[in-house]
């Protein structure tokens, strides 16, 4: 547990999550010539969701490389370059496109180190945009972190705010393992998308790391534990702050990474509150909500003074029309209702 590392909105320089990501990449690129970036529209365009803003201007086409729409080829090329000593940062534009390159991701990127008996390292970052909320429908709105967390060999991180975005990106690039870095479009702080003010916050100018595998207690509380990740952390904090005024004390755990999973922080919180709500923008079944349930059930089910509650996408593809989309997303309203129910 690293409550001290929780981002703060104190400080003068406030930047978006997108900018924080790009800044971390730039700092690593300045320090290490082996770091380069590739992906679709990562060059002059700066990444469809701003993750490579300004990198092209500073580092040029040789280190910030626009690719053809050939995800298998360029992710595979990232893997090959990594095994030969480079540290590529490769962007898959939307995580929803994983299906055209999943073999490289899970049969190669994830397994080479193991298959080689530790002889070969794959120090590579694969970053991709996740998330719904702006009517991009079934093929451009998924979270899917549960899918990757299920498959061994890849670290899976998903920041909820600018400070973590920068620190986790630095850690990811320096890590000798493949890291899947999932950034939520709705938490990037983009000018052209609705956003929570939490997506623009103070971020130190200098390089720093946030360790991969440590959850943050984003807000301490004593009545109900919310375990969540990514954009849903922002919603959960909004709800927690609102309910605080009514005397309901909510603890919000921002997992920050699903692999490795910081079970200790989760268990300590559930032990304290006895009430568990897991909020997940990924699909409900066979995913993150189940995994959190299992670590409690295999440790001590009597920790739970009430049945746990799962709030996730109810196993439907993401629909287009706003009414239906918000009908299935874990919105503040639904989080609030679930907390009230648990606290009652």
């Amino acid at each position: 547990m690293t409550a001290t590392e929780t981002p703060t909105s104190e400080g003068t320089r406030r930047i978006t999550t997108a900018k924080a990501m790009a800044e971390a990449i730039a700092l690593e690129m300045r320090n290490d010539p082996n770091v380069f970036v590739m992906g679709e529209d990562v060059g002059a365009y700066g990444g469809i969701f701003g993750s490579t803003t300004d990198l092209f201007a500073e580092f040029g086409a040789d280190r910030v490389i626009d690719t053809p729409i050939s995800e298998t080829a360029f992710i595979g090329a990232g893997i090959g370059a990594a095994t030969e000593g480079m540290r590529p940062v490769v962007e898959l534009m939307f995580i929803d496109f994983y299906g055209v390159c999943m073999d490289q991701i899970t049969n190669h990127m994830a397994k080479i180190h193991y298959e080689s008996g530790g002889a070969v390292k794959v120090p590579m970052v694969l970053m991709a945009a996740t998330g719904a909320g702006y009517s991009d429908a079934a093929q451009h709105s998924q979270s899917l972190w549960g899918t990757f967390a299920h498959l061994p060999g890849i670290k899976v991180v998903a920041p909820s705010n600018p400070y973590d975005a920068k620190g986790l990106m630095a850690s990811a690039i320096r890590d000798d393992n493949p890291v899947l870095y999932l950034f939520h479009k709705g938490a990037q702080g983009l000018v052209w998308m609705a956003k929570n003010p939490r997506s623009i916050a103070h971020v130190p100018e200098e390089a720093y790391t946030v360790p991969i595998g440590e959850a943050a207690v984003a807000k301490e509380g004593s009545d109900v534990t919310i375990v969540t990740i990514s954009l849903s952390v922002q919603h959960s904090l909004d709800v927690a702050e609102k309910l605080e005024g009514e005397g309901i004390s909510v603890e919000v755990i921002d997992l920050r990474s699903l692999v490795p999973l910081d079970t200790e922080t989760v268990l300590a919180s559930v032990a304290k509150t006895g009430k568990l709500l897991v909020v997940d923008e990924d699909y409900k079944s066979y995913g993150m909500t189940g995994e959190i349930a299992a670590i409690v059930a295999e440790t001590d089910p009597t920790m739970l003074s009430k049945p746990m509650v799962r709030l996730a996408v109810p196993d439907v593809p993401i629909p287009y029309a706003r009414t239906m989309e918000y009908g299935i997303l874990p919105t503040r309203d639904k989080i609030e209702a679930a907390v009230r129910e648990l606290a009652s």
Partner: protein, 321 residues
Amino acid sequence: MTELNQLDLYKEMVRIRQFEARVLNEYHADKSPAWDIGAGLIPGEMHLSAGQEPAAVGVCAHLKKGDAITAPHRPHHFALSHGVDMNAMMAEIYGRTTGLCKGKGGHMHLFDPENHFSCSGIIAQGYPVACGHAMAFKRKGTDHVAVAVAGEGAANQGAFHESLNLAALWNLPVVFVIEDNDWAISVPRSASTANTSNADRAAGYGMPGVRVENNDVEAVFEAAGAAIDRARAGEGPSLLEIHTVRLWGHFEGDAQAYRGAELETLDERDPIPAYAAAIGLSDDQVAAIKAEADSEVDAAVRFALDSPVPTADDALLHVFA
């Protein structure tokens, strides 16, 4: 082969353009002052095909009821040319219960089984599905044809290769269409494609490949006619690359800085006024055709706006049949 009817080709191009101009307008109408992609009556990503009408119109002129199209993320021109109902399509774009997909699909996922039209947001992945349509047509003993559409960027996706090989190997009645508009979002063709014409790739599958230059609807019509007739006659698949132009952004909201000076040339390259001139239409004829299209589009917008919005619970339907 269908006979070329210049006025029909022109009218259909105008119909598409007026539809999209209206969508463009409505899309932006209620997203200000702070432009928000998710806001407004038409939310989400919006990929319009202005400039690419010749491709759709030239190809679809040869299709008959029962022929199938799989289109990509930029689907409206092919959908409309292939007979998809404008009201139902507009209502889908507005996310209404009367939409083609009851509001579930949105503009990248339009499904019209009656007209055998579908599209998808994952580039090139309509190619394999078209092979399956063609298999079914062949197995049923019909002479129907499946048309698969993708952009020049998509032609560098593995699915392109696998599908062309499969269709050639099994002699399937498919026509693979590549719309080469020079760009894949911000990436120019020169930065995505090692060779200059995808038609040349067709040879690698023992398949005829033709590249149509100049965004010329009549040239598209001729080349598509040959390919479609060939498929219908059981002689197998073909590839047709059409050099066209994307007049607007990749999606709405795209500032297109990456296009630089090219942006200034776009007006001149609009195929619609060029074709009006080429076939000698008077200003009055042009205005009348546009007005007719506009009134159809007006009706579609009204239909959409009058239609109910789905409920939150509707989201839970249709996962399984």
